[in-house]
């Protein structure tokens, strides 16, 4: 029987099932049952199936595992086999689902007629149009066709080159807006190679970050967050219990800065000075490793200008801080310095610090067999744009990049595209660049297409489609190959991008493997989601020959500097079309659905700017406006605005939100001198957070290293019998509990995104967040310390239902909708709830959420809904139940094959997502469970939130750890 038919009925089933899941509680399920014609032995209806693939949301390329229900992917999780993500995944990765199911995705090919009006055309017409223009361009001469887009892996690169080759061109431009080119140049200068080094924070004892937000948006946030958690975990060194020592030098207290021991505010651009000054300390103290192969005298002269006192005098960074950094770095058994930004001198300094202390090849290493640089250099990008402007290009094909949005004015992206005769845009949600295109083609979302990644030597990620296309789109690769095949002198080795990827991968199979072996290999990599081998670190020789130090004048200007940074969720703006990423509060500022201008109180006072007042930021390139966020977490000399907002297209969720900093930046840099003035108008910044002051209550607790060394005060056991008015609950089988390590938690909010995806949480939008109707079951509670010197920089901890043993919410519910389950959870029966809201009134943690309206998921976002979780209607209270549906499934499966539940078999969404592995879930009846052992191993750090209320939470938190400021 033809296989296509089974797929059709398959999809029908999918549609039916999704319809069933999408409607609120009181609606009938699907009426029709359509069986397979031929059953697919890999699919068991009603049970999820899993596909390994690779995340395409940022260049890090973590492995993912997609949970697919009746043909719809419902959640994404990390792939444990992949060494980068190692089973975890960030918020951005999870929100890829909302890119896939985005209601504003282009559904059909569109042609822009005169007057800029878009008209729907058929795929055949579109392809014909495309090939005609390409043919004409090819006739007109060499290199009159160009490709402009994001790097999307080796296979895609090959396809692109083949496609352009077929039309006699080699104008491929792989453009990443936030490419860290200065770091590559620095690496070339010092080590003679352009690939970026790999960091091993967990191998270090001291870390200095020079404005590198490695926990949010660095080269590989998930991996580094995991390493950082390990770095900060209490260890015994030199006979003393201690944790990693970390510094952050930069203008703004980012999340990374907040998690470091010291945030050392510095003028934007002064980081390099400080870094070289730290090196000066090392040299002065003779803390240069022998094996570094550096000549001490040469070094001494090199750093002569950066004596801490002088630098401190120039930059205002206290000299003792610099000395402290130097001491901690030089003495450390393993240290790592990281940098980011466009300042090459800064990267050189960071590399030098690592090299000089003999950490090259230990905490910072270059791997053997680095491939060609995936990204086009800035100069070549400029050249490409210039070529367009000069009319050297007739057809440009754009995919995966949004130059009109992400290119600073000086690169004149829009103007360049206007000069191109025929602009073809392939993508999902039409963005600013699509508005310039004459032909718009709906391309597959990465989760629908075949692709691969090579994030680093030894790691090859295979991106296989995890479901049928949602729209009538085609893979960008297929579109190009189809066009290429029609070219006169075309000799394309592959039919489709699937072929291309397969060919690419079969080449990776063991040499001379038989056909069967190859097939087996192909099956294996598809199952594991990639090919993971151990890449040897490569010995690189350091040459300081062409080493240039920063002019001592740098970063010492007294004027205001504008600094833009990559938003942890929106990144360079590609996240803005995903409501989850808009609605999850940015961890440090807790602001949603807007962009803000963070400004220091003194500066604000000087400029006479009030809270929430729109600041006009003007540079030679233009001006933007953003509401003032007055906070002490920014250097007085800087005004900081996140990237990612300010779209004027890109779907209903992104357009007309906030401002786009790129509009006022110069090419290749994220900071620039700025003149700021208040406009008198204001726009309130919206945040679900109430007070930032903990008022001395035990919500997020921290302890100093000394307290830890003296054993802290161990957690008192749960209240004994005399407290019980009612007989205690028996818990014959299980008593579910959690251990959450606040010290590991970075605040990255991956858990929040995971909860949104797993539990069908609706997003509500800016206005409703303002009205206190945000629906997140788990959130990052953020507080500012009262005593800045004797506390962590920020209190950050996940707040979710504590599943109390004495739950205040339970006795007050008149109908038992909120009740105590036999396994110790505070169950919530949605269909029994009448909506008195008494439970939330009585909940001290305020973790219950009420459905104020009927939740809405504009189609096809509803296809993402998890069929295992009831979709709640209006007037119903809802809450976290440790992912009860996962618990139920695990128990049923265990019972079905007559075995006991294994520890770690159940993983709630939040615990599974956490990159820092801060959350452990398990059975409190089983003393040997990983969760209970984690409690016992850290007995001194155990605490319960609001313990004095005797609610006896099932979640034990482990206190955050900090160093008393001014102590080594």
């Amino acid at each position: 029987m033809p296989e296509g038919l089974s797929r059709r009925s398959f999809i029908k089933l999918a549609a039916a099932a999704s319809a069933a899941a999408a409607v609120p509680g009181c609606e009938p399920a699907a009426r029709k049952l359509i069986p397979y014609v031929v059953p697919d032995e890999n699919v068991l209806p009603g049970m999820p199936s899993y596909y390994a693939s690779t995340c395409a949301e940022c260049p890090a390329g973590c492995g993912i595992i997609a949970t697919v229900r009746e043909g719809r992917v419902t959640t994404l999780a990390g792939n444990p086999a992949d060494p980068i993500g190692a089973g975890a995944i960030c918020a951005r990765g999870q929100a890829a689902l909302q890119g896939l199911y985005n209601p504003d995705r282009l559904a059909d090919p569109m042609l822009r007629g005169d007057g800029g009006k878009l008209t729907k055309i058929s795929w055949d017409a579109a392809e014909k149009l495309l090939t005609d223009h390409l043919g004409a361009a090819a006739k007109a001469g060499q290199n009159r066709v160009a490709f402009l887009g994001a790097p999307q892996g080796p296979s895609f690169a090959k396809i692109t080159r083949a496609f352009l080759g077929a039309y006699g061109s080699n104008r491929t431009t792989f453009y990443e807006a936030l490419e860290n080119e200065a770091a590559r140049n620095a690496a070339e200068t010092l080590f003679g190679r352009r690939d970026l080094p790999i960091y091993k924070i967990d191998q270090a004892e001291t870390l200095i970050s020079f404005a590198a937000d490695f926990l949010e948006t660095g080269s590989s946030p998930v991996e580094l967050a995991r390493q950082y958690a390990d770095f900060r975990a209490p260890k015994t060194r030199r006979g003393q219990l201690t944790i990693g020592r970390s510094f952050y030098v930069g203008p703004r207290m980012s999340m990374s800065a907040a998690k470091c021991d010291d945030w050392i505010p510095s003028m934007p651009g002064a980081e390099a000075q400080v870094a070289w000054s730290v090196l000066h300390v090392l040299v002065a103290q003779r803390w240069i490793a022998q094996n570094s192969g550096l000549d001490l005298n040469a070094l001494t002269t090199m750093v002569a200008a950066y004596d801490p006192a002088a630098v401190s005098q120039r930059t205002g960074v206290p000299a003792d801080k610099i000395n402290a950094m130097g001491a901690a770095f030089g003495r450390a058994d393993g240290a790592v310095a990281m940098a980011s930004g466009d300042d090459e001198a800064l990267h050189l300094a960071a590399y030098m610090l690592n090299a000089a202390t003999g950490n090259l090849g230990r905490t910072m290493l270059f791997l053997d067999g680095a491939g060609v640089e995936p990204v086009t250099t800035a100069s070549d990008v400029n050249a490409a744009m210039a070529a367009m402007r000069d009319g050297k290009v007739d057809v440009v094909v754009i995919n995966g990049a949004n130059p009109v949005f992400t290119m600073p004015p000086s690169m004149r992206a829009a103007e360049s595209l206007q000069r191109v005769g025929f602009v073809v845009w392939m993508g999902t949600v039409p963005d600013e660049t699509a508005n310039m295109a004459s032909l718009l083609l709906p391309a597959h979302h990465p989760l629908e297409a075949w692709r691969d990644t090579a994030p680093r030597p030894g790691v090859r990620g295979l991106g296989q489609p995890v479901m049928q296309p949602v729209f009538a789109s085609r893979a960008a690769g297929d579109i190009m190959l189809a066009a290429a095949a029609k070219a006169p002198q075309a000799k394309i080795p592959w039919q489709s991008s699937a072929d291309a990827v397969k060919a690419e991968w079969l080449a990776l199979a063991p040499q001379g493997a038989s056909h069967d072996a190859q097939t087996e290999f192909w099956t294996k990599v598809r199952r594991e989601g990639g090919l993971y081998t151990e890449a040897k670190p490569m010995a690189v020789k350091l040459s300081t020959a062409s080493l240039k130090t920063p002019p001592p004048g740098d970063g010492t200007s007294q004027g205001l500097t504008f600094v833009a940074f990559a938003h942890i969720f929106l990144y360079d703006g590609r996240g803005a079309d995903k409501p989850w990423l808009q609605e999850i509060p940015e961890p440090v500022t807790q602001i949603v659905w807007d962009s803000w201008a963070e400004i220091h109180p003194t500066t604000a006072a000087k400029l006479g700017i009030a809270k929430d007042e729109l600041i006009e930021l003007r540079t030679e390139h233009g001006a933007i406006e953003a509401p003032a966020l007055i906070s002490a977490n920014v250097h007085p000399g800087a005004i900081v605005v996140p990237l990612g907002q300010g779209h004027r297209a890109y779907g209903r969720y992104a357009s007309d939100v906030g401002a786009n900093p790129w509009k006022i930046l110069a090419a290749g840099s994220l900071r620039i001198a700025v003149s700021a003035k208040g406009t008198g108008r204001s726009r309130r910044l919206i945040s679900p957070l109430g007070k930032s002051d903990m008022l001395g209550r035990s919500i997020v607790e921290a302890m100093s290293l000394d307290e830890l060394r003296h054993g802290g005060e161990p957690e008192a056991p749960l209240a004994p019998e005399p407290y019980e008015m009612y007989p205690p609950f028996p818990y014959p089988n299980h008593k579910w509990g959690m251990t959450i390590d606040v010290n590991s938690c970075t605040g990255c909010s991956a858990c929040v995104a995971a909860c949104y995806a797993e539990n069908n949480l609706p997003f509500v939008g800016k206005e409703l967040v303002d009205q206190g109707r945000i629906m997140s079951w788990i959130r990052i509670e953020r507080f500012f310390p009262e005593d800045k010197d004797n506390a962590p920089n920020l209190y950050l901890a996940p707040m979710l239902c504590q599943q109390c043993n004495h739950a205040p919410c339970e006795p007050v519910c008149p109908v038992f909708a909120s009740y105590h389950t036999q396994e110790g959870l505070n169950g919530q029966v949605y269909n029994r709830c009448v909506g008195t809201r008494y439970c939330e009134n009585n909940c001290p943690y305020k973790v219950r959420r009420f459905n104020w309206f009927v939740p809405e998921w504009p189609a096809p976002l509803n296809l993402q809904l998890n069929p295992d979780v009831t979709v709640r209607g209006a007037g119903v209270m809802e809450k976290c139940t440790f992912c009860i549906q996962r618990i139920q499934h695990a128990e049923i499966n265990a019972r079905d094959d007559d075995r006991a539940l294994k520890d770690g078999e159940i993983v709630p969404a939040c615990a599974g997502a956490c990159p820092a592995r801060a959350i452990t879930f398990g059975d409190m009846n089983d003393q040997q469970s990983a969760m209970m052992r984690r409690r016992d191993d850290n007995n001194a750090r155990n605490y319960l939130m609001l313990e004095e209320l005797n609610t006896q939470p099932a979640i034990v938190y482990l206190r955050d750890l900090y160093r008393v400021k001014g102590k080594a």
Binding site: K12, P39, G46, V829, Q885
Partner: protein, 170 residues
């Protein structure tokens, strides 16, 4: 007096009726379900003693019991042993629906907030008939029991199965 109670009564009545109308109806037993092809469970399960799970094969492994794939029908009918292919293909001559596809009508429906799993019940040794009635004697399957919460709870109580609300409602 009446001026107070009549409005109250009215409100209660109206809301009550609305609830019944919009929430309960859909999953009351539906006696009127007619299938696209005159498939007889009596002949298959009764006369020919085909075990339920021969066709509803997912029941022991999954949430839903599953409707046999057309391949399964053809397995017997196509081989010319029994009946011939006509009984199966009859539906496909009906041009109202796409070829090679049997669009069965649901007999049993549960609301979205009830998460029922077949597999644990099969593993607990519950006979299909216990909920679905003596299907093997029915030509056209009609529900004989009203599957409501009381029905579930009674059985769960007798068999000491879980009475935790969240086992079915989450």
């Amino acid at each position: 007096m009446n001026r107070i109670f009549l409005p109250l009564a009215a409100v209660l009545l109206i809301s009550g009726v609305t609830v019944i109308a919009f929430s309960q109806r859909p999953w009351l037993p539906r006696m009127d379900v007619v299938q696209p092809i005159p498939f007889s469970h009596r002949i298959h399960a009764g006369v020919n003693k085909i075990p339920c799970q021969y066709c509803h094969e997912y029941a022991r492994r999954s949430e839903n019991a599953g409707i046999p794939p057309v391949e399964r029908c053809v397995g017997c009918h196509g081989s010319g042993i029994v009946g011939g292919i006509q009984p199966v293909t009859r539906a496909w001559n009906n041009h109202a629906q796409p070829p090679f596809e049997i669009r069965w009508n649901r007999v049993y429906t549960l609301p979205d907030f009830v998460k029922f799993w077949h597999s644990p019940h099969i593993h607990a040794g519950i006979q299909c008939q216990q909920c679905h009635g003596d299907v093997q004697n029915m030509d056209r399957v009609v529900p004989v029991k009203e599957i409501n919460m009381g029905f579930c709870v009674e059985c769960h109580t007798q068999r000491k199965a879980s009475l935790d609300c969240v086992s079915c409602h989450h």
